[in-house]
Symmetry: none
Subunit: 203 residues, 4 copies
DNA sequence: AATGAATGAGGATTCATTCAT
DNA sequence: AATGAATGAATCCTCATTCAT
C-alpha cells in the first residue's frame, strides 16, 4: 500500500465537470435524506434528483452510508463556521453562550434537511453523531471554563454544564426541524436559557 | 410486560396460551429492536428469539411497524405509571419536578432497549414519538402551573418551561441509552436541573 | 380399503347441528368466492362470515378447492332443476329453447355470486367447468334432435348448434353477472335468439 | 412481440440491449401465464425462462399484474391489426362479419397462450378484459350499422347484435383455447354464424 | 363438534451495488 | 466521466392447513 492509496481519495473528482456532478449529488442527497429519511430514500431518488444516471453515484461515493456521513460532517463544519462568525466581537461570555445557542438554532432552521440528517445519524452512523455533538460541547465547555476562571459565572463542572447546553440544542433543533412549530422554538430557547442563565449568575 | 395495557385490535389472543405467546413476542421484539434498531432487525430474529414460527408473529401483529408502535405506547404508559408512583406523597412541587426527572431517567435506564425504541420512533413512526413526549410535557406543565399559582415559583410560560424540561429528559435519556456513559448521566441531570431550579426560585 | 372408506364421506356432518354448520359455511363460501373471487378470498373470510372458528372449516371440507367444486356442482344441479320446472308443459320445442335460455339467465341473475364461481372455475377447476356446461349442451342437443326429427326445425349438426346456444348462455351470463348492465341482458338474449330462431325455422 | 406498441411507463428501456431484455421477458411471461395461469405462475418462472435474474423483471415492469395487463392490451392491438388486414378489400359487409369472426378465431388459435390470458383477465384485471371486448364490439357494431343503413341486412339494434357476435367470439375462443377440441371450433363458428346470418338477411 | 393457536413453505418486491460500454 | 442494465440476496408478509384441546 503506497502513500497514494492512503492520502488520495480515488472517488474525488479530477475535473471541473466531475466536481460539479459530485456537488449536484451531495445537494440531491441532502434534500432526499432530509425530506424522507435515510431508509426511505433510495440511491435512485438521489440520482434522479441530480439528473444523473444511477451508476454515476458510485463514481463519487463508496456507498449510501458514506454520503450520509459526509453530510453529517459537512453540517458540523458549516454550523461551527456560522456560529464562529456570529460570535466575532462578542466579549461577554454569557452573552456568547446565548448567542451561540441562537446561532445554532438559526442554522439548523436554515438547513432543516441537513439537521434532520444529523439527528437520524444517531441511528445510522452513531459515531458521526457523537463526533458532531462532541465538537459543540467542547466549544461550550471551553467558553464556560474561561468564564469560570474569570469569575464571571459561578463555579461548577463545566463539562457537565456544557452537555446540559447541548441537551437544549438537541432538543430545540429536533423540535424545530421535526415538529415544525416554528414560532415557539426561539421562545422555548430563550425561556430555557434565561432560567439557566439566572442560575449561572454570581449569587 | 403484559399486552392488556396495549390498544386493542382484532389480533388479540383469546386464550391464555395465546396471551403468553404474544407476551413472548413483545418481549423478543423489544430486545431485538432495542439492541439493533428497527431497520437492522428482522421479523425472523424476533420469532426466533421468541421460539415460535415466523407466521406466529402475524397472528398477533399486523406488521413490523405495528409492534414497534405498540412498544412505544407501552413505554409511555409504564413510564408514567412508574413516575406517578415515585411521586406519591411528594408535596413540594419543585422537588416533584426533580424527582420526576430522576424517575424518568431511572426508568429509561432500566428499560434501555425500550427507550431506544422511543427515540428511534422519531424516524420510524413520528406521531407515536410526538404522543409520547407530549404526554410528559402535559404532566410537567400542569405541575408548573400549580406551583406558579401557589406562588412557589416565578411566573412564566409554563407550557414553554415544560418543553424545556422535556428537552433535558430527551437529551439525558439519549445520552444514557445511546452513549452508555452511565456514570455521568445523573450528574448532568442534577447539574442542569439545579441551574434551572435556581432560576425558578422566587427572586 | 373397505366399502366405508369409499362410500362414506367422513367430512359429512353426523348431527343436525353439524349439518347447520356446514350449510352456513357453504353459504358463506358462495358469498365470499362470488364477491371477491377464488384467489382473493381466504378461508378466514369464509369462517368469519359463517361465525365459526377457522378450524371448523376443515371439519367439513378437505380443502379450499373442494368447497369451490362443490359449489360449481351445486349450481349445475339447481340450475337444471330450475329450468326443468320452467319448461314443464311447454310443447313447442323452439319455444322451449328460448324459454330455457331465459330461465338460465334468470337463474344466473338470481344467483350472481354462484354463477361467477362457475365462470371462474374455468381457471381453478377446469373439469368442473366442463362438466357444468356439458350437461346443458346435452339437454339443448337432445331438444334440437327431437325438433329436427319431427321436422320442426331445419336440419343441421345438433351437437354443434347446441354448443352455439351454450356460447350465448355463457356470454350472456358473464355479461349480466360481471358487467352488471342488467337492463339489457334480456334484450341481448332475445335479439340474439331471434336471429338464431329465424335461422332454425324451416325455410 | 415488440414493446413499443405497449403503453409507455418510466420503466421503458433506453438501449437496444434493454429492449431485447424486455421483449424476452414479455415473451416468457406470455408463455408462463398462458401455460399455467396467472396465480400458478411465479415471477421466478418468468425470469428463469427469460434467462435473467429475478430483479431484472422489476427493471421493466412494476408488478406481476402490470405485465399481465400489458399482455392483454397487446393482444387487443395485434388481434385488431390482424383482422383489419384480413378484411382489406372485402366489400360485402355480411361476409366481413363472418371473415372477421374467423380471423378472430385464427388469431386466438395462433396465440393460444395470449388468448388464455385475455380470458383470465376477467378474474385478474377485469377492466382490461372489458376494454378488450368493447373494442371489438365497437367494430362489429359499426359494420352492422353500415350494413343496415345500406339496406344490406334487416334493421335491428346494432349494439345488441354486435354483443351477440362478441358472445360467439368469447365462447369460441374459450372453447378452442381451453378445451382444445380444435377440429370443431370452426365448425361451431360457421354453424352458429350461418344461423345468425339467415336472421340478418333481408326478409 | 368446535375452537383458535401455530405452522412454514412460499412468493412478490426491494434496492444497494457491480458491470460492461 | 458517465451511463443504465443487470444482479440476487434480503425481507416482509400470506394463508392454506394441521394440531392440541
Amino acid at each position: 500500500m503506497n502513500q497514494d492509496s492512503i492520502s488520495v481519495n480515488d472517488k474525488n473528482p479530477k475535473t471541473a465537470r466531475g466536481a460539479k456532478t459530485k456537488a449536484k449529488l451531495l445537494e440531491a442527497a441532502s434534500l432526499e435524506f432530509g425530506a424522507r429519511g435515510y431508509h426511505e430514500c433510495m440511491i435512485a431518488d438521489i440520482t434522479k434528483r441530480a439528473n444523473v444516471a444511477m451508476g454515476t453515484f458510485y463514481v463519487y461515493f463508496e456507498s449510501k452510508e458514506v454520503v450520509f456521513r459526509e453530510l453529517v460532517q459537512y453540517m458540523g463544519q458549516t454550523t461551527r463556521a456560522y456560529i464562529s462568525k456570529k460570535l466575532e466581537g462578542v466579549s461577554d461570555r454569557l452573552e456568547a453562550e446565548k448567542k451561540g445557542l441562537h446561532a445554532f438554532i438559526e442554522f439548523a432552521r436554515a438547513n432543516k434537511d441537513l439537521y434532520r440528517i444529523v439527528m437520524e445519524s444517531q441511528f445510522v452512523a452513531e459515531d458521526a453523531y457523537r463526533d458532531y455533538y462532541t465538537s459543540f460541547q467542547k466549544a461550550y465547555a471551553e467558553n464556560l471554563r474561561n468564564a469560570s476562571s474569570k469569575g464571571e459565572i459561578r463555579n461548577g463542572d463545566d463539562e457537565v454544564r456544557a452537555w446540559g447546553l447541548i441537551g437544549l440544542s438537541v432538543f430545540l433543533g429536533m423540535r424545530y426541524c421535526i415538529w415544525d412549530d416554528s414560532k415557539k422554538v426561539e421562545d422555548v430557547a430563550d425561556a430555557a436559557f434565561d432560567l439557566i442563565k439566572n442560575g449561572l449568575k454570581m449569587g
